[in-house]
């Protein structure tokens, strides 16, 4: 195959498409067939329903927070209640939505198909992971119902161990259990990628979606145990007072922060890397062109995973860590920013000389590119030692991580959900309504979080229930934006639900994408492939696809 050659790919005629008679959805009937399934696709659907539920619970808390901040006075709820709001918002969004969002839903559904396998390596462990997710989720909901927890999602000692009488141990237990769910998913992915690839599926023929999940899985497996240990220590400190974090007993309260961020910084990459995988697939598909610099994008994922473990202390620049260790961590933080920049430029150049269309997933992907660039660059602000002093613990940092997590990850998640919706359900979503949702989300997001950068530089601290009146105008803008954003997130819930019954039949490959998952029926069979395919082409090989289509037409015709 030559390095440069032209391909024309036309969308197939969807009017002739029919839903396949037998697929993973109708293969077995009854609730129990879902609850005891070992099928990675069914588990992915279970996860999708679950994380959507928790997303809207967490979103409700976000709405309440923004409503309280509409006025400078602490007038909507009491301070303790407000503190519980942002704690629950953080805990639910981070541990119950962002961490499992793409890997447990899209990853679970697609990983084996993309590799040409019939299922993940350990289907029962996969199901167990979902049950643990719910167990952890119920424990956290239980803590919420019993009166909530007000530690913030960071569980910072000694506040969490000695100064609060809320349900800290219960909430920590919930997060502890969720950690196992996450480890199981990561472990399953790593083993599957190593052992279950179809014949001919070499490492560099894998889609970038798989590469980014591989990097994220390593982080899950190596990082999460540290979080578990930390939370156990917090619980022990509260229950029996072992004193590891207590200065009066010779402990060190800063040790908690080291341990916590040793997980929680890599966790940021657990959240964003799978999203980056989605963006690679979407941009390639809608420009009908292979991803520019495949190896650079693949290795930048691994580089992010590797460097991601050595930057945790950049959360602690003002906490009295030694100046010299601060220097090292700042330098490493600058280095970890580079692979993200590489990815952004590679995606942009994937568009060059393509044949671009602008379906909804592409709109979300464009939103991702813009918002993630801002989110990434503001991360460099915070990585710069002297700048961090003024910016940390203010709304600047709130805006920064929402740009990465919501502007980046959630945009990528929605891009992926729309992109693979035809594959998962066999039906199309309504195109114009979903474009409206994408634009609404983008506008609402910017209106919500851009003012927070300004607020942060003005000095407004995060987690403030009341604030000086001069900050009100920007806060009103932010709350208005949150309202628009809320509409933007409700829309997909409604029209995707509608499309399950009334959506147009999708057919096998509505986007004419090259991925292995698009070469099988939608929705797929329970066993994915009737015959395990033999892979003799690279990922994003549009020429192969063009020839394949041509051949099919001639045989059928």
């Amino acid at each position: 195959m030559s390095a440069t050659s032209s391909t024309i790919v036309n969308l197939p005629d969807q009017r002739t498409a029919r839903l396949p008679k037998r697929n993973y959805i109708n293969n077995e009937d009854g609730l129990l067939s879902w609850l005891f399934t070992g099928d990675h696709k069914r588990i992915a659907i279970l996860y999708l329903i679950s994380i959507t539920f928790f997303f809207f619970v967490g979103g409700a808390f976000a709405g309440l927070i923004r409503l309280e901040l509409l006025t400078p006075q602490p007038d909507l709820v009491a301070s303790d209640t407000y503190n519980k709001f942002f704690s629950m918002h953080g805990i639910i969004m981070v541990f119950l939505f962002l961490v499992p969002s793409v890997p447990a839903t899209l990853g679970n559904f697609l990983m084996p198909i993309m590799l040409g396998a019939r299922d993940l390596a350990f289907p029962k462990v996969n199901l167990l992971s979902w049950y643990l997710y719910w167990l952890g989720g119920l424990v956290i909901l239980g803590a919420m119902v019993m009166g909530g927890v007000d530690t913030g999602w960071t569980f910072t000692t000694p506040l969490s161990t000695h100064y609060l009488n809320t349900h800290v141990v219960t909430a920590a237990m919930g997060v502890f259990i969720l950690g196992f769910s996450s480890i199981f998913t990561g472990l399953n992915f790593i083993v599957t990628i190593h052992r279950m690839r179809a014949p001919g599926m070499t490492w560099f023929r894998m889609p970038l979606f798989v590469w980014s999940h591989y990097a994220a899985s390593i982080l899950m497996v190596l990082g999460t145990p540290v979080l578990a240990i930390t939370l156990v220590l917090v619980a022990l400190e509260r229950l029996v007072g072992i004193g590891v974090f207590d200065p009066t007993k010779g402990g060190d309260p800063l040790l908690f922060q080291h341990l916590f961020w040793f997980y929680s910084h890599p966790a940021v990459y657990i959240m964003i890397l799978p999203g980056m995988g989605v963006i690679s697939e979407v941009i390639s598909t809608f420009s009908r062109k292979r991803v520019f610099g495949y190896t650079a994008v693949a290795f930048s994922s691994v580089a992010i995973a590797l460097f991601g473990f050595f930057v945790w202390a950049h959360h602690m620049f003002i906490m009295g860590v030694s100046n010299y260790s601060a220097l090292v961590f700042s330098l490493l933080t600058m280095l970890v920013a580079v692979p993200s920049a590489i990815k952004i430029f590679n995606w942009a150049f994937t568009l060059q000389k393509g044949s671009i269309t602008f379906e909804t997933p592409m709109m979300y992907a464009f939103g991702f590119l813009g918002l993630f660039t801002i989110g990434g660059m503001t991360g460099v602000f915070l990585g710069a030692l002297g700048m961090d002093i003024h910016l940390t613990e203010t709304y600047f940092i709130v805006a920064h991580f929402h740009f990465v997590m919501v502007g980046g990850m959630l945009m990528a998640f929605l891009a992926g959900i729309h992109f693979w919706w035809p594959k998962m359900t066999g039906r199309m979503y309504p195109e114009s309504l979903s474009k409206l949702a994408a634009v609404t989300t983008f506008i609402g997001f910017n209106l919500t979080f851009l003012p927070q950068f300004i607020l942060g530089y003005l000095g407004m601290p995060r987690r403030y229930h009341a604030y000086p009146p001069e900050f009100q105008v920007l806060n009103v803008l932010s709350t208005a934006g949150a309202t628009v954003l809320g509409v933007g997130y409700m829309l997909p819930l409604l029209y995707l639900g509608w499309s399950l019954k009334y959506g147009a039949i999708a057919g096998n490959n509505p986007w004419q994408a090259t991925g292995l998952e698009w070469q099988i029926q939608s929705p797929p069979l329970t066993e994915n492939f009737v015959e395990i395919p033999v892979i003799d082409y690279e990922a994003y090989d549009y020429e192969w696809l063009a020839h394949k289509t041509a051949n099919e037409v001639t045989t059928v015709g």
Binding site: A3, T4, S6, T7, I8, P74, S79, D80, D150, T156, L159, T248, P253, S287, F292, G293, Y294, A296, I318, M319, G320, L327, S330, M334, V338, I342, I344, A348, F349, L351, Q352, K353, G354, S355, I356, T357, F358, F366, L369, G370, T373, M377, V380, F381, G383, A384, L385, M387, D388, I389, T392, E393, Y457, L458, G459, P461, R462, R463, P468, E543
Partner: protein, 347 residues
């Protein structure tokens, strides 16, 4: 078109009072803002570049204009370009940020010291001259001020946005920050580390004053007892002078002039005696035994408040000769309590 006068007034007021950037009220602020503007510039350039590429390619290569995609593998030259240029920019930011960090966190040697004790949910400022303030801080302009800060309970963070300084206030350990105010006025103090129920009420005002006004304020608001004098009373009432009497046969080491010196410990290590060391040596004496002395000092953990420790540290810091210790000894023996001052919070 008619604009509502209320709205107009509101807008004018807003534009005047809170622009998009905070006031520059310390010597550090312009340096911090310079880096901020540099970062804003490269962000804008990066964003515009990505925008031009994405929208440019989207328009040029949209399907109606470019029905055929041309497959391209990649380009090592381009990969190198967008690895090296961002890396170089980020390294510049790193060096610039590091220089700023050292500027903000290395206090000049002539800085005047003020102690800050943070607790749920208030700030106490203790001036060496005996002025005590709650949720307020008065400082002179044109003079470096160092804050030695400690928390009595959880993590707090002492932030003055208009000065661009902030540092965590940690339980059990002194942390410091410094600034030199340039413009008289009042500025916000925020606790920026989440510290429990009334976190957002743990705020205060720093008042920067001309040296004359500051001198006047100092005169008017003194409690009559300096921190060192409070410390002296505490030193006597805790019985410290029984051992640290300064005489040759004393069971405890001589404390006169010890501050700032290098001390040899029984463990063999050599330490610099600073505020943090003095505090630790009072609370955990067994781990800080001066060479040549027996480890007989009991711990004072839980017996002295952070304010009391500040007083003691300030007393020992200013102890140049043993004259004061001897005097204290006499006072103690003569059964004459030191005079109480109304309004002083007893340690």
């Amino acid at each position: 078109m008619h604009i509502s006068p209320v709205l107009w007034e509101f807008l004018v007021k807003w534009l005047n009072n809170s622009a998009l950037f905070p006031r520059e009220a310390s010597t550090i602020a312009p340096y911090a803002d310079a880096l901020y503007f540099f970062l804003l510039t490269i962000t804008m350039v990066g964003l515009v570049l990505v925008g031009v590429l994405v929208f440019g390619f989207s328009i040029r290569y949209r399907q109606s204009r470019s029905p055929e995609a041309t497959q391209v593998e990649g380009s090592t030259l381009l990969e190198a370009t967008w690895t090296i240029i961002p890396l170089a920019l980020f390294l510049i930011v790193f060096v610039w940020g590091a220089l700023l960090y050292f500027r903000i966190y290395n206090p000049p040697t002539n800085a005047m010291n003020i102690y800050i004790v943070g607790k749920q949910w208030m700030w106490k400022a203790e001036h060496p001259g005996g002025q005590h303030e709650i949720n307020a801080l008065h400082v002179p302009i044109g003079r470096p001020v160092q804050l030695t800060m400690i928390s009595q309970d959880v993590f707090h963070s002492f932030s003055i946005p208009d000065f661009r300084v902030k540092r965590e206030v940690i339980p059990g350990r002194y942390s410091t920050e410094w600034f030199e105010a340039t413009t008289p006025g009042t500025y916000h103090i925020f606790c920026t580390q989440y510290c429990g129920t009334n976190h957002s009420a743990m705020i205060g005002t720093v008042t920067a004053m001309t040296p004359d006004d500051y001198a006047k304020w100092t005169q008017e608001s003194t409690s009559g007892m300096s921190l060192a004098q409070n410390g002296e009373r505490l030193f006597a009432s805790m019985g410290c002078n029984a051992c640290h009497s300064g005489s040759a046969a004393a069971r405890g080491p001589n404390l006169a002039g010890v501050y700032g010196s290098k001390l040899q410990l029984t463990s063999g290590s050599e330490v610099l005696v600073n505020d943090a060391y003095l505090r630790d040596a009072i609370l955990n004496p067994s781990e800080h035994v001066t060479a040549g002395f027996a480890p007989i000092m009991p711990t004072y953990q839980g017996q002295i408040s952070e304010d009391g420790l500040v007083d003691l540290v300030e007393y020992i810091k200013n102890l140049q000769t043993n004259y004061r210790v001897q005097q204290t000894l006499t006072t103690l023996q003569s059964n004459q309590a030191a005079p109480t001052t109304p309004g002083v919070v007893k340690p």
